[in-house]
């Protein structure tokens, strides 16, 4: 009976371990690499994410942004893995709203969604242009994604 308990426990641990993100990536989105300036009145929008990704591979997040809100989106990687390119694309029309490669690969952007809710795709690629991998296992790194929001203040009287 005891042996079977050990077998079941080992199966669960080993069966899932290949898919779990490493410990150092788990809270990467809240690390010092991921600070966004001027966010005093902003709240977390949905879940901030950390992912363990392969350099040069693009991955995507889909998120619905409500109207009448200001947003800040930040994307970060550890030192030495810069730059990271991200594009914000309207899902329905595939129109590129923002591409940080036209902005010197800045790691955050702020925007206001004024009149209608918007479904966007955040498309992220770690370019790591100066990084020299030691081997194939060295081709992965952590990426943090933060989405913050605040209600747009009403104007006028």
């Amino acid at each position: 009976m005891k042996t079977w308990k050990v077998i079941i426990a080992l199966t669960i641990v080993l069966g899932t371990s290949g898919n779990l993100i490493p410990q150092e990536c788990k809270d990467f989105n809240n690390s010092r690499y991921c600070t966004i300036p001027d966010i005093q009145d902003y709240k977390q929008y949905g879940k901030s994410r950390s992912a363990y990704v392969v350099i040069h591979k693009t991955f995507k997040y889909e998120v619905v942004l409500n109207d009448k809100n200001d947003y800040k989106i930040g994307v970060c990687v550890p030192n030495g893995y810069d730059p990271v390119q991200y594009r914000i694309i309207e899902k329905e029309t595939e129109k590129v709203i923002y591409d940080n490669s036209t902005d010197n690969y800045g790691n955050c952007v702020g925007f206001s969604v004024e009149d209608k809710p918007l479904t966007i795709i955040i498309e992220i690629t770690v370019l790591a242009s100066k990084f020299k991998p030691k081997d194939n296992n060295d081709m992965r790194t952590c990426v943090g994604v933060q989405i913050l929001f605040q209600k747009i203040a009403k104007t006028g009287f």
Partner: protein
């Protein structure tokens, strides 16, 4: 000695399965594009917590009716993983809804149901005891409570996504979104008195569509196909409610800040709303009923 051999065989089997899974994943997901980077077709859907969704809809004052939630006694009768997962989502939304009320005694009972169902689908370890203590200590503080609830929900979704159990997360999300819509439409007792609430409900269209896209990515699974079949009617009603849609315009205004404008007029009348409400009620009835097991 025999037991030890069993363990060794099992370890070898797990390693072999893992290698096979990883190889097939790489083949399916990676295709090189012309810019020299690789694209991964899988999209991660960042769906909002039910607490966030209900908060948006109920920002207009609406009375909370505690009789609307799924009865506690149903929880132990869900026997398979599909029903347990969907109804875990239902109870998470119920918990968020009950927390909109001043009296939170009932809400805590629902949190216990969430823990029990989580245990049944093997994610109990991620609803840490600390959540229970924090919820207990913050029953009177709505802001902290809503933060803890969101954290708990995102914790569940993170762990399911990172352990290749996205299908379970898809079912939980379906439960939370359908239950949030159900609690919302049932609060509209008179269409003419609650037009602003109905508009907020219909503005959840894009979240519903995002959920639909998310669960469609598991359409090869029969449980998910059955769910999609139920949701299609709602999708059609929501789709047809949008008129006068314009393309968005993006203006860079100051520093690194953009302003995004566009128009999307939602047309609802009493008939459309009642049709939507009936469909939500039917789907919700189907997902909570015991005889599905």
């Amino acid at each position: 000695m025999k037991s030890f051999k069993n363990i060794i065989y099992l370890l070898l089997l797990v390693v072999l399965i893992q290698c096979k899974t990883n190889n097939s994943k790489n083949t399916v997901l990676s295709t090189a594009d012309s810019t020299g980077t690789d694209t991964v077709e899988r999209v991660t859907y960042l769906l909002p917590s039910p607490e966030k969704m209900l908060h948006d809809i109920f920002s207009n004052k609406v009375a909370i009716n505690q009789d609307l939630v799924n009865p506690k006694s149903n929880a132990e009768k869900y026997l398979d993983e599909k029903m347990q997962s969907i109804n875990l989502g239902v109870y998470i939304a119920d918990f968020a809804y009950l927390n909109l009320n001043e009296n939170k005694a009932n809400a805590l009972e629902y949190f216990k149901l969430i823990r029990n169902l989580s245990e049944k689908i093997n994610i109990y370890g991620f609803i840490e005891k600390s959540f229970f203590d924090r919820i207990n200590n913050n029953l009177m503080n709505n802001d902290s409570l809503s933060k803890i609830m969101q954290e708990m929900y995102y914790n569940i979704s993170d762990i399911l996504e990172n352990s290749n159990r996205q299908k379970v997360y898809a079912l939980i999300s379906t439960g939370t979104i359908i239950e949030s819509l159900y609690l919302s439409v049932m609060s509209v007792t008179s269409y003419s008195d609650y037009q602003s609430v109905t508009l907020e409900i219909f503005k959840q269209k894009q979240i519903f569509m995002s959920l639909y896209s998310f669960i469609s990515s598991f359409a090869d699974d029969k449980d998910i196909r059955a769910v999609l079949k139920q949701l299609i009617k709602l999708k059609i009603i929501l789709d047809s409610s949008v008129a006068n849609k314009s393309e968005i315009s993006v203006k860079k205004d100051k520093g690194n800040h953009l302003s995004i404008h566009g128009e999307e007029k939602i047309i609802i009348n009493e008939k459309v709303f009642l049709d939507f409400k009936e469909n939500v009620k039917t789907i919700r009835q189907n997902i909570i009923k015991i005889s599905n097991n």
